[in-house]
């Protein structure tokens, strides 16, 4: 059974209230839009990638707390990383959110992102948590947009 505090942990509430890297990069060279057609939520992501490294990243969008905190924490986690490492993190995050990766027993590199493990009990909210990651993946692959309804999670 999921309880409210387990899902909406302090870290999540904090990032929701004070999102990090919020806005649009003026000198972005990669960007993508993410849509969740189920709720109409939408985020935009802009990045500056140089020599395969994420120099800067920002996001914007009026979304639920789960999605906003996930986006905020994602930007913190991937800033400065190279694209390949960020790609593995995308995969690990998706696997955690969908229950394929058990962060209690299996090795991972998610660190504090592990607070989102609670969403796996709530299938409709998995999409909220994963949307920013899906969008980041689209930006890496030069796709203009991503939705929660396409691609495997």
């Amino acid at each position: 059974m999921t309880d409210a505090r387990q899902l909406y942990q302090e870290v999540i509430l904090d990032h929701n209230k004070k999102p990090r890297n919020y806005g649009v990069l003026a000198d972005a060279n990669r960007s993508a839009e993410g849509h969740n057609p189920l709720c109409g939520d939408h985020i935009s992501l802009s990045l500056r990638v140089e020599h395969d490294a994420i120099r800067d990243i920002a996001f914007q969008g009026e979304t639920c707390a789960i999605c906003k905190a996930s986006a905020s924490m994602m930007t913190v986690a991937v800033k400065g990383k190279n694209v390949g490492d960020a790609g593995s993190l995308i995969q690990e995050f998706r696997d955690m959110a969908t229950g394929k990766l058990d962060t209690q027993t299996q090795a991972h590199h998610l660190g504090r992102l592990n607070v989102f493990a609670g969403v796996r009990e709530l299938p409709t909210r998995v999409k909220c948590a994963v949307l920013p990651w899906h969008t980041l993946n689209a930006a890496f692959h030069n796709q203009p947009s991503a939705t929660t309804e396409s691609g495997e999670f």
Partner: protein, 419 residues
């Protein structure tokens, strides 16, 4: 109907004792996340009483065969029961004749049927279709598709901040190119009950037929299509204690006769050669293929159930729930109600300051309270009110005042988490 604003948390009084009806609904006895289920998502889909469930089972166990096809006894029974359901539907909305009742998959298919059958036959380049600003996507998208195909255009009746249509503006939209008014009877996103009778009269003065989307009306009030004088009326079974996969399109016989069939196939023909097909009479012309027989018969049972409870009593009880809940919600700081029409169904769309409706929905769900969070398939309504989404509690006659209290307590908990 009185304005809910006038009565502030009036002590609950009800014409109907929902506690006595609730044992009829097996699902209402269930628990969710360890809490008793408080089901307040009736505008999305309603629950089914045992008598209706049993009707489905009885059909499958003892009456099933294909309809209108064979001479054997089972087929005759199935045909008789299927046609009896059509008569029940006819009486339920007071249609003149059973052939004016077409079984569909639901409201969406009913509207699409009118788009194909009426729209394709009568709407051409430069013609106009009037819709309202509070339509469900199912009463927007088919018309957009037709407009694109035909070079016709949509005209939209605006609404005020309370979520009421501006009738003066409506009247101004008519011109000789107006071919159809497609209008929601009761808004699923705002609860607004539109003054459709007068609006239909106005359209008829211009010689324009009117299609009503009755998805949110038939579960909650007595609907009389002859009194309204609408030309088409579409609704869904699953929102009125019936099963999914079934709905009704009512159409005036004179209009239906002039229309093209929606789909081609078996049952909708009188004779077929490779040169020519002669279409069957109404309503079969519009019911190609084997229909959802079990669902239609079960919908008939749902209508009988609602009629036995009494549509007037249902409407009264839901109004009492609405004014009680409205009063309670108004007292919570940070709650903003979206939709304050004078004539309103028991739908409460709201936002919570600083809290996304999705989060509110999840936290309420953890308390056992099922509401809907999102755009309610009415994104233009969300845009009109400048919100991406709302939380929506929508009531049925089996909801109780105690469930309103559970909703209110749940909202306080949500606010506490986000405090």
């Amino acid at each position: 109907m009185t304005s809910p604003a006038a009565k502030k948390s009036a002590p609950p009084v009800s014409a109907l004792e929902p506690e006595r009806l609730r044992p009829d609904f097996p699902i209402l006895q269930s628990r969710v996340h360890g809490k008793p289920l408080v089901y307040l998502d009736n505008a999305a889909s309603s629950q089914m009483p045992r008598a209706v469930i049993e009707r489905w089972v009885r059909y499958q166990e003892r009456e099933h065969a294909n309809v209108h096809r064979a001479v054997h006894a089972l087929s005759e029974t199935a045909t008789r029961e299927y046609e009896a359901a059509r008569h029940t539907a006819m009486r339920f909305i007071n249609a003149r004749e059973a052939r004016e009742i077409i079984f569909t998959r639901g409201t969406t298919e009913g509207i699409n049927l009118v788009m194909h059958g009426f729209g394709r036959a009568f709407i051409n380049q430069g013609d106009e279709i009037i819709l309202s600003a509070m339509e469900h996507h199912s009463n927007i998208v088919p018309w957009q598709m037709l407009c694109e195909e035909r070079g016709a255009r949509l005209r939209v009746i605006p609404m005020n901040d309370a979520g009421e249509l501006l009738l003066d503006e409506y009247e101004k939209l008519f011109n000789p190119r107006t071919k159809l008014v497609a209008l929601v009877h009761v808004s699923n996103a705002l609860g607004t009950v539109n003054p459709v009778r007068g609006m239909i009269r106005a359209a008829h003065q211009h010689g324009v037929p009117v299609l009503l989307d009755g998805a949110q009306a038939t579960p909650h009030m007595r609907v009389d299509v002859q009194d309204l004088d609408c030309d088409f009326y579409a609704f869904s079974g699953h929102k009125m204690c019936g099963p999914t996969g079934i709905g009704v399109l009512y159409g005036k016989a004179g209009l239906l006769e002039k229309m093209q069939p929606y789909q081609g196939g078996g049952d909708m023909i009188l004779s077929v050669t490779f040169e020519k097909t002669t279409y069957n009479a109404l309503p079969y012309k519009f019911e190609a293929g084997t229909p959802p027989i079990a669902a239609a018969i079960t919908l008939g049972a749902a209508m009988d159930y609602l009629t036995a409870v009494g549509m007037e009593r249902i409407a009264q009880h839901e109004q009492a729930l609405l004014s009680y809940a409205t009063g309670q919600l108004r007292e919570i700081k940070g709650v903003k109600l979206i939709g304050a029409a004078r004539d309103k169904a028991a739908v409460l769309s709201f936002t919570l300051e600083g809290i996304h409706p999705h989060d509110a929905g999840t936290l309420l769900d953890l308390e056992g309270v099922a509401i809907r969070a999102g755009h309610h398939c009415a994104q233009p309504v969300m845009q009109r009110f400048g919100v991406p989404a709302t939380a929506r509690a929508s009531f049925a006659f089996y909801n109780t005042f105690a469930e309103v209290d559970a909703l209110i307590a749940g909202i306080h908990k949500v606010q506490k988490v986000f405090a």
